[in-house]
Structures are given as structure tokens and as C-alpha cells.
Amino acid sequence: MDGQLRHERRRRAAGRHGGSRRSARPAGMIERTCAFGDGGNLVGTFCVPEEGVPRADLGLVLFNAGFLHRVGPHRINVRMARALAKRGIASLRFDLAGQGDSEAPGRREYRQGAVADLAAAMSELGREAGVTRFVLFGFCSGGFHSYDAAQADDRIAGILLYDAFAYRTLRTRLNRMLMVVRSKGWRGAFAGVLAALARAFRRGNDAAQPPSPEFFLSFKPPPRREFAATAGALLDRGVKIGMIYSGSFPRTINYEEQLRDALAGTRAAQAISCRYFAGADHTATTTAMQAQLVRYVEEWVVELAARRRAART
């Protein structure tokens, strides 16, 4: 099927536009908002590179962070989509069923439903932009949905997860203690150690720690051994996995090599790329933080596209 946006790109390239020269000035991308999916229950906006911009066979899927709609925290999904379009990467930012402008689903299990919606989004983006492989950017709760989807769908070439899976190490705890000493002194640090010991006694050491009480509480990360195994299986399949962390949860994640150390001895330890933005908060509240995050995602996705292109030649 010829996607509407591909037709539009060819029409623009041929110069057969009805608008003024000013409105025909290329912006590097074309956007279209529509309903799609089962019965047209999902709403999203495609963002496709204009003709003349070299395109990759890789599409980016962006979706809800927690309860926020498809534009993302502080509109970051829109910024990201447009930046990637200028680099030849088409995208779809959409609302999962029951969120944003998408219709509520019928009775279905929440996490399986999200995986189904992501599958529908990839199919639709594939039709619109002619791409066959996809990257999912999962923000917060979206990180867990992306991880679930990657295990279920061979079309996923990469997942990039923001403030999702984290596992503490001894260095995490020492770093945290130093932070507390700097801010509250030794007495405050000692009280913190007692509280942490009490928490550890209650929960057990092998269980992964949810990043913070503010996180989507229905998403408890699996134990680290299980995560290492499932991540390893994805890596064996050729899926690129990346983790990005903000500085909002120092109790749970506070240095860049943390996941590598936590999964030491496993394939995942070396193969998962990690980036820790200590100076950024969970929702990238300043435009500088947003620009930093967009740049990182842009380079990560473009590098994957280049790697895939090289592998085919």
C-alpha cells in the first residue's frame, strides 16, 4: 500500500503544490495526524522526512510517558520526532489505548494491551513510511512496555529506555551515602544507613529496586538475573538496547557504569549502552535538558540505522 505521506513527499518533490512558495518551503519533514489500529481506536502523528532527505529503513515509535499524552513531557516527543526526521528517520508518536486521544480498550490485560498497541503502531508506521524495522523509545513506564514489546516482536531493532530498569550495587550505596553526608552530615548519613538496612531486610537483596515511589508502581523490574537473561536473548537476536538515566533517583541510580557493574559477568553487562545525565531531572524540565536528551537519542538511533545499512552492503 502506498502511504499517504509517501504520496505527499513525491508531490512536494515534483513542485505540484497548491500553496504559496512560502508555505512550500521545505521544513525537512511532513506530518500527518490520524486514527489507526483496530477500529481506528488509536490516534497518532506521523513525522516523515521530506523527499531529498536520505531515508533509513528504521522507524522510531514514541508514545505515552505515564499518563501524559503522546507529545511527551514538555513536548519532548515532538522535538525528538522532528529532529530525527531531519536525519532521515521516520516516526510515529501515538497514544496507547485509553490514554491521550486514543479510545479506551475493551477488557484486556494492561501490559499485553500495550504490546498489542505498539505492534499496531509499527505496522502503521511501516505502511506510511516504508520501513521494516523499528526503534522504541520508552519513557518511564514506556520503558517497560518497550521491553515487553521487544521480546514479542522481531521487527524491533532497538529499544532505548529512559529511567526504567535499574539495579543497585555497593558503589550505588556508597555514592548515595557520600551524597547524604555532603548534604546532611554524618548523623543524617547514619540514619539513612539504618533505614536502608531496614528496607533491605524487608525486601531481600536479589529483588530489583523500583527506581522511586514516584515511578509507575505497577512496573516492578524483574530480578537482575532474569533481566540479564532476557536482555541477553534480545542481544543475541541483534536488538540494540540502550538505557538513559536522569539524576532524579540517586537512591537507585547514581553513576553511569552502574548497570554494567550490576550485571557483571553477563553479555548484557557489556552490550547494553548506558548514559547517566546526572544534571537532568526525570522529565527534562529545562529546554537545555531536553536538547541534551534529544541529541543523545538522535545519535543513538542514527548510529543504529548506519550500522544496519552497513550490515546490508
Binding site: 512550500a24 495526524t33 505515564g66 499518563f67 507529545v71 537545555a288
Partner: protein, 259 residues
């Protein structure tokens, strides 16, 4: 009925809009929703979606839209001006009438969206009715409030946030010309041309008592106080939707009152 996504306006400045079709297909009544600014629009997206669904079920065609440079629409906020957003309201109303067939429209706005609706009513074809939830009646007071919210959020953020005071508010640029235009909003100078204006005001909302008498010289004004004190500007929103029922009920009631 399902929401119908649309893109309205000329290429290069297209706005994304959502049409909620009226439950009664013969209905010719419509409502244009005018969003608040920045992070307030992000926080209220769910509220406005639920309200639109409720109004559609009650027989109104509802058109929600994102101003130029906001939400899913073209452009970014550096290119946004208050004048442009006023034009966007007129565009949305024209779309509601010409494409959807509405012949009686009301405009609903929350916070700065309500103020934009008031200003838009004086430019071009006014609506029959304006419904305003916690409208911004004093621009300087509003700027003080949102700047304070930005500073409050910045207390938990790195020191670099201090560099953004004045130019950003909770993740969104506030260009200087926009800031100046908002600062110029004064109760004494804020008239509107709708046949009637209905204000829904939370307990913490200020300025209505000063504004209403002057506005009532040219239009019929009603004010309804509600118990909820909506926290419009805050950096949170990911972990739950804010949908105050008394405010929504007051808006629905205001739209159903005789013009």
C-alpha cells in the same frame, strides 16, 4: 463516537485538532476549546478530553486544538505569539462552522486559554457564549504565579535551572514578546464581544470581582464559584490525571444555560 483527528490551517502552520462529533447527528451546536499555556496544557489534556467527551454526549460538536508551536501542531514555541494564538482560535471556530456545519458556537477556555478566547472574541466573528475557567485577568499576577512555580520546581533541580528564569516556564520557552503581551493584560482593559460570558472560578481565583462589572457593560456576565482549587501550573502530571468533577460540571452547566 470516536474522536476524529484533523489538521487545520495552511501548510507550514497547520494545527492539530480533535473533533468530538455530537451524539445527535443533527446537532448544529459546537464548542471550541482554548488550551492553557505550556505545562498547564500538558496537565489538563486528560481533563479536556473527558470534558469534550461529556459535551459531545450532551449534543455538542467539540473541537479541541493545539495552538501553533504547541502540542502536536506545527512550529515551536519560539515562533508563537499571543496574536497568532488569537488567530488560531478564529481559525478553529471557522473550521467548526464551515467543515462540521455548526451554526451556533461557544468557546471554552481555561486559564490563559480563556483570556485568549476573550481577546479573540474582539477580533473577527465572536461566539454566542464564552465559558472561562479561572481566566487570567491580570497578566502580571499570572506571570508572577508561573515564574514562582518554575522557581519552586527548580529547587529540586540542578543550579543551571536558575539560568532559565524569565525565559522558560516548566519546560516551555516563554519568548519575551509573549511575556510582554501577557503582562499587558489588565482587568480594566479585558473586554469581550460574546453575547454572554460565564466564569467558573475556583476558591483561589482572583480578579473576577474587579473584572466582571466592567465587562458587564457590554456583555452578560455570570460567575460561579466552585470548591476545587485547581493547581494548574505544576511540574507533575505523569502519575495521575487531574479531573476535578465540580469544575467540569460547572462548565457543562454554563454551556447549557440560555444565551
Amino acid at each position: 463516537m470516536k474522536v476524529r483527528p484533523m489538521r487545520i490551517g495552511p501548510r507550514g502552520r497547520q494545527l492539530v485538532a480533535m473533533h468530538h462529533p455530537a451524539a445527535t447527528s443533527a446537532s448544529r451546536r459546537g464548542v471550541v476549546f482554548c488550551n492553557p499555556f505550556g505545562q498547564e496544557a500538558i496537565r489538563t489534556h486528560r481533563l479536556l478530553r473527558v470534558l469534550a467527551d461529556r459535551l459531545a454526549a450532551a449534543g455538542f460538536h467539540v473541537l479541541r486544538f493545539d495552538y501553533f508551536g504547541t502540542g502536536d501542531s506545527e512550529g515551536d514555541e519560539t515562533g508563537a505569539t499571543l496574536d497568532r494564538w488569537i488567530d488560531d482560535v478564529q481559525l478553529a471556530d471557522a473550521m467548526l462552522r464551515s467543515e462540521i456545519g455548526v451554526n451556533s458556537s461557544a468557546w471554552f477556555g481555561a486559564r490563559l486559554g480563556a483570556t485568549i478566547a476573550m481577546l479573540a472574541s474582539r477580533r473577527g466573528a465572536p461566539p454566542e457564549r464564552l465559558v472561562c475557567w479561572d481566566p487570567v485577568l491580570d497578566g502580571r499576577a499570572y506571570l508572577d504565579e508561573i515564574d514562582a512555580a518554575h522557581r519552586e520546581a527548580g529547587r529540586d533541580l540542578p543550579a543551571s535551572v536558575a539560568d532559565t528564569f524569565g525565559s522558560e516556564v516548566l519546560g516551555f520557552c516563554l519568548p519575551e514578546r509573549m511575556r510582554q503581551a501577557i503582562a499587558a493584560i489588565r482587568p480594566s482593559a479585558l473586554g469581550c464581544e460574546a453575547r454572554s460570558v460565564h466564569v467558573v472560578a475556583g476558591m483561589g481565583h482572583r480578579g473576577t470581582e474587579e473584572w466582571a462589572p466592567a465587562a458587564s457593560v457590554t456583555t452578560r456576565v455570570s460567575v460561579k464559584r466552585i470548591e476545587s482549587n485547581m493547581v494548574w501550573m505544576a511540574n507533575s502530571g505523569m502519575n495521575g490525571a487531574v479531573v476535578p468533577q465540580d469544575g467540569m460540571a460547572a462548565v457543562v452547566e454554563a454551556l447549557g444555560l440560555p444565551a
